[in-house]
Assembly symmetry: C2
């Protein structure tokens, strides 16, 4: 794997893994009041659009990274609806 | 501008604009307790890495989108430190 792709996967890993501490925190505290619904909604639309862009550009890093982020966002959205 | 680039810029606009309602909410309520520091930290590292990836791939959509997101994150980080 070339260096560019390694940097890409590192980026995707960070921005996806970033949601893990937030999901764990919201899960444990059962509090999501300070998290904006508008942020979550726009992010879901944007991430889906990034996946389409990744497919059209045939960029595997963008596709994999954003599919993984969608999974994290789905959990956070569930917690936001449940505990708001 | 071709369709692929338009979809790319739409994606970048959504994922960047997504932080606006969060920044406004944190600014108004002066409360950021439910927002994870780990999430913010990992996101900053990941977004900087995405900018490097965008430069190496010569992908203007990735570069512009992530530079704009860094600006949003900087404000949110400031609010998190100030109001936590």
């Amino acid at each position: 794997m070339d260096l560019v792709r390694i940097i890409g996967f590192f980026s995707a890993a960070c921005t996806t893994a970033a949601f893990l501490p937030q999901v764990i925190k919201s899960w444990r505290t059962k509090k999501t009041r300070d998290i904006s619904s508008g942020w979550l909604g726009l992010l879901v639309v944007g991430i889906f659009s990034w996946i389409v862009y990744g497919i059209l550009r045939e960029d595997l890093v963008i596709i994999i990274g954003n599919v993984a982020t969608v999974a994290m966002l789905a959990v956070l959205l569930y917690l936001k609806i449940k505990y708001h």
